[in-house]
């Protein structure tokens, strides 16, 4: 493990011996698991239950969504590279990786907006059928989370640039990173459940 880097949590005396901010972040992510677990389960529950189109197999473009998945995966890599730079106190490089992460996130959200728009033009709205409702709610919630993550990343860059972050900049980067990676793991599940698993024959 000679090529690893060290990172100290900010000095904070707590009854658990753990930084409260990090503990709170993990608790928040645990609650988010339940939120997305419920949304994904609802989507699965109504798979193939739509009686009118458009149906998933008519509108999904797996190749297009795969590219979006690669973009989000790449953003997770740039996020951890930002953390490594912060741990090495190379803050200019840290900001560069954070901006790269935000740009990749923006690309993902832009792709999702384009996808939603094309689905809308093909007749799939949130009220069209059960598929439309569950699909837009699930992927829409995820998209909102990515957007919030982008805002957090850009805020972090702005604060770092303005010198408004604490001396140990690695800690806030790690906290935002936890949120960002969570968004990524949610997409890993959504990509499999919604897009890759073959859709059942239409009901009725």
């Amino acid at each position: 493990m000679a090529d690893t880097t060290a990172h100290a949590a900010p000095v904070e005396h707590t009854s658990t011996g753990l930084p409260s901010t990090k503990l709170a972040m993990w608790l928040f992510l645990a609650s988010e698991c339940l939120l997305f677990g419920a949304l994904i389960t609802t989507y699965v529950l109504y798979r193939g239950a739509s009686t009118t189109g458009p149906y998933p197999h008519e509108i999904f473009d797996i190749r297009y969504t795969s590219v979006s998945s690669f973009v989000l995966l790449a953003s997770s890599l740039t996020m951890v590279l930002a953390l490594t730079a912060a741990e090495q106190r190379d803050f200019a490089r840290m900001r560069l990786w954070l901006v790269a992460t935000a740009m990749l996130g923006l690309t993902f959200v832009g792709g999702q907006v384009y996808e939603f728009t094309s689905f809308y033009h093909e007749g799939l709205t949130i009220k069209s059928n059960l598929f439309g409702t569950t699909f837009y709610v699930l992927t829409g919630f995820h998209g909102v989370h990515v957007t919030v993550g982008i805002l957090m990343l850009l805020s972090l860059v702005g604060m770092s640039w303005a010198g408004r972050l604490p001396d140990d900049q690695a800690f806030p980067v790690e906290m935002v990173g936890l949120y960002w990676h969570f968004v990524d793991i949610v997409w890993i599940v959504i990509f499999t459940v919604v897009y890759l698993i073959p859709q059942p024959k239409p009901a009725g």
Partner: protein, 118 residues
């Protein structure tokens, strides 16, 4: 003693630890090279997922493979990029609590309602 179990951590298996200047514990995170290695594995697994979805495998095998690949990707991100492999085990417990709640709900629907049998 606060944070004592962190210092007792198995250095080889869970990432090296060293006491900080103020008695708090420094935990070692993976290097950039290791992060890139994990990134490459994730890209390979995603490519394999997409290939599997087009492979025309029998339905049951296809679903099992896709869920298996998604699980491995999920675990890699959580353990390496989110550092659960290296951090205090109490963070893992919190996360497992939430994730297993979601997983149990999903499995109930999957198995009882046979959602993927259609």
């Amino acid at each position: 003693m606060e944070g004592l179990d962190e210092v007792r951590g198995d250095i080889g298996a869970r990432g090296a630890v060293e006491p900080g200047e103020t008695g708090h514990v420094r935990r070692r995170h993976p290097s950039a090279k290791e992060y890139v290695r994990i990134g490459v594995i994730l890209v390979v697994l995603t490519t394999l997922e997409v290939w599997t979805s087009y492979s025309g495998l029998p339905h049951g095998l296809l679903i099992t493979m896709l869920f298996g690949l998604a699980f491995v990707k999920f675990a890699l991100v959580v353990l390496w990029y989110m550092h659960l492999r290296f951090d205090d085990s109490r963070y893992s417990r919190f996360f497992i609590m939430g994730a297993s709640g979601a997983g149990i709900l999903f499995l109930v629907v999957l198995l009882l309602l046979k959602a993927f049998a259609r």
